[in-house]
C-alpha cells in the first residue's frame, strides 16, 4: 500500500458522530442514532451509512455534506455517504444525551408508557396536530404548565395510526 497513513475507522466514526443536526442546535446525528456504519477502506475512502429519521427529511443533503466534511477533516481521503432506507429509524435509537438536549429545546420523545412534558414532567399532553413544523414531530399542548410541546414521532408509526386530536378542555380555548 502506498499513500499517506489513513485514519482508522474509529477516528472517522468519532468525527461523524459529532456532526450536528442542522435544525436542532446541540443535538448530534450520532446521539440521534442516525449513524449506521463507518468503514475506512484501504485507499482511505470513508464509507458511511446513515439512517434518516424521516424519508422526506429536507435536511438530508445538508447532513450528507457535513458528514463528508467531517470525515475528510478527520483524515479520510474521500467520503461516500449513503442513506439506508431499508432499516427504519425509530425513537429507540435516540440516546440520553440527545434526549436531554431535545428536552432543552422543548421536544419530548414519544413513549408508549406516556410521553412526559419536557418542561413540567406532566404526562397529560394533548396532541393538537399529527405534524408540527417538521414531519418528524407532532404538536402538543401541555395543560399543566401551558406550554407548546413538540414530540419526536416514531417514523414506523404511520400518520393514520396517530390519535386524532380530541379537543379536550386543556386547549379548547386555543
Amino acid at each position: 500500500m502506498s499513500g499517506p497513513p489513513y485514519p482508522d475507522t474509529a477516528a472517522v466514526r468519532r468525527a461523524v458522530m459529532q456532526v450536528n443536526d442542522p435544525e436542532l442546535s446541540g443535538v448530534t446525528i450520532g446521539s440521534l442514532g442516525m449513524v449506521k456504519s463507518v468503514v475506512v477502506a484501504d485507499d482511505g475512502t470513508a464509507h458511511i451509512v446513515l439512517v434518516p429519521t424521516f424519508l422526506g427529511c429536507p435536511a438530508l443533503a445538508h447532513i450528507a455534506h457535513d458528514v463528508e466534511r467531517a470525515a475528510i477533516s478527520s483524515g479520510a481521503s474521500a467520503a461516500v455517504v449513503v442513506f439506508d432506507h431499508q432499516d427504519p429509524w425509530s425513537t429507540d435509537r435516540i440516546d440520553s444525551v440527545a434526549r436531554t438536549a431535545l428536552a432543552g429545546l422543548g421536544i419530548a420523545v414519544s413513549s408508549a408508557t406516556g410521553t412526559a412534558c419536557p418542561f413540567c414532567g406532566s404526562v397529560s399532553l394533548d396532541q393538537i396536530s399529527p405534524v408540527g413544523p417538521a414531519s418528524c414531530r407532532s404538536a402538543h399542548w401541555c395543560g399543566s404548565c401551558r406550554n407548546v410541546v413538540e414530540v419526536f414521532r416514531d417514523a414506523r408509526a404511520p400518520l393514520t395510526s396517530l390519535p386524532i386530536p380530541t379537543r379536550r378542555m386543556s386547549y379548547a380555548h386555543l
Binding site: 445538508h62 429545546l105 418542561f119 408540527g132 413544523p133 404538536a139 401551558r146 407548546v148 379537543r167
Partner: protein, 307 residues
C-alpha cells in the same frame, strides 16, 4: 400562580431576570403588549409560509422545490404554535386573530406587503429577510420575559438558522452564476434593500414597553446596525452593490447607512403596500381551500377518535 403588588413590584421582578408564566396574574398592559407582539410574529410566520409556498411549483429543480416545501411546513408550523401561545393569553381567540388578519385589521411584517417579481426576489427574502428576522428573534430570545414564548422561540431560532443556510446556498448559486443571474440578484437587491432596513422598524422610543418588560432586548436601530455590519461586507464580497449612495465607513471602519425614508413602511404597516391586498386575499383563499381538512378533523372528533 404569582401575583405582584403593583407595577413597580412587577418591574423589579422583570429586571431581576424573572420569567412570567401563562398562569401568572400579570399586569393587563404586559399581557396586551406581549400578545400583540406574538400575534404579529404568528401572522408573519403564516405569511412567510404562504410566500414560500407560492414558489414551490416555480422553484428551479426538485431539490429547491423540496426545500421550499419543507420551509413552508416550518413556517406554517411556527405560526400554528405561536397562535396557541397568543390565544392562551386570553386577549383574542385564534379565530378572532385570523378574522382580523383576513379582514386587513392586523399587522404582519413589512416585507410581505411587496411583490416578488423574480426568483432572485425570493432569494433576497429567503436569505436577507430571514437573516434579519433571525437577528431580531435572537435578540428577543436573549432575555424574553414571557416563558411560553421564549421556549418556542428557542426552537424557531434553531430552525431559522437552517433556513438561512439554504438561503445563502441559493444566493451563492446566483453570485457564482452567469452575468444574467448576477444582474437578476442585483436588481432584486436594489428593489428590497430599503424594505430590509425597514424590517427592523423605526428608531425605538425611550419609553418602549417591550424593552422595559424585556420582550425585546435591544433597540431597533442597534439591531439594524448589527445587521448592516455583517451583511454589507458580505454582499460586497459577493460582488454586489448596496443601493444606498450615502453608505460609507467611518474612521473606525464601521459601516454607516444613509438616512432612511420611512414613507414606504408607514404604508405597509397600515396594509396599503403594493401587494398587501393580494397577499391578504391569498391568505384567506388558502384558509378556505383547506377547510375540508379541518372539517374532517372536526367530524372525526365529534364522535370520539376516528377508527
Amino acid at each position: 400562580m404569582r401575583e405582584w403588588t403593583d407595577e413597580q413590584d412587577f418591574d423589579r421582578f422583570i429586571q431581576g431576570d424573572g420569567i412570567v408564566e401563562a398562569g401568572d396574574r400579570m399586569p393587563d398592559q404586559y399581557r396586551t403588549e406581549v400578545f400583540r407582539f406574538i400575534e404579529m410574529h404568528a401572522n408573519s410566520e403564516l405569511f412567510g409560509g404562504l410566500c414560500e409556498h407560492f414558489w414551490v411549483s416555480r422553484a428551479p429543480g426538485l431539490h429547491r422545490k423540496l426545500a421550499f416545501l419543507a420551509k413552508t411546513q416550518d413556517e406554517i408550523g411556527h405560526a400554528h404554535l405561536l397562535y396557541m401561545v397568543a390565544a392562551d393569553l386570553g386577549v383574542k381567540t385564534r379565530q378572532q386573530m385570523l378574522d382580523d388578519l383576513f379582514a386587513g385589521r392586523s399587522k404582519f411584517h413589512n416585507v410581505f406587503h411587496y411583490k416578488t417579481h423574480t426568483w432572485a426576489d425570493q432569494i433576497v427574502i429567503a436569505f436577507l429577510v430571514d437573516a434579519a428576522a433571525l437577528t431580531t428573534q435572537q435578540a428577543v430570545l436573549k432575555q424574553c420575559s414571557y416563558g411560553p414564548y421564549r421556549r418556542i422561540l428557542r426552537r424557531i431560532v434553531s430552525e431559522e438558522g437552517f433556513h438561512m443556510r439554504h438561503g445563502e446556498e441559493m444566493l451563492l448559486t446566483l453570485a457564482d452564476g452567469t452575468k444574467i443571474q448576477r444582474e437578476m440578484f442585483q436588481v432584486a437587491l436594489d428593489r428590497w434593500w430599503e424594505a430590509v432596513m425597514h424590517f427592523f422598524g423605526p428608531p425605538t422610543k425611550p419609553d418602549d414597553l417591550l424593552i422595559r418588560w424585556r420582550v425585546k432586548s435591544e433597540t431597533n436601530e442597534a439591531l439594524r446596525d448589527k445587521y448592516v455590519q455583517k451583511f454589507v461586507p458580505m454582499l460586497h464580497d459577493y460582488g454586489f452593490t448596496i443601493p444606498d449612495p450615502y453608505l460609507h465607513q467611518d474612521d473606525s471602519g464601521r459601516w454607516v447607512i444613509g438616512d432612511i425614508d420611512w414613507s414606504a413602511l408607514s404604508s405597509a404597516q397600515s396594509n396599503r403596500g403594493e401587494d398587501s391586498a393580494q397577499r391578504i386575499a391569498r391568505s384567506l383563499a388558502a384558509w378556505n381551500d383547506t377547510a375540508w381538512v379541518r372539517n374532517i378533523l372536526d367530524r372525526s372528533t365529534a364522535g370520539g377518535r376516528a377508527a
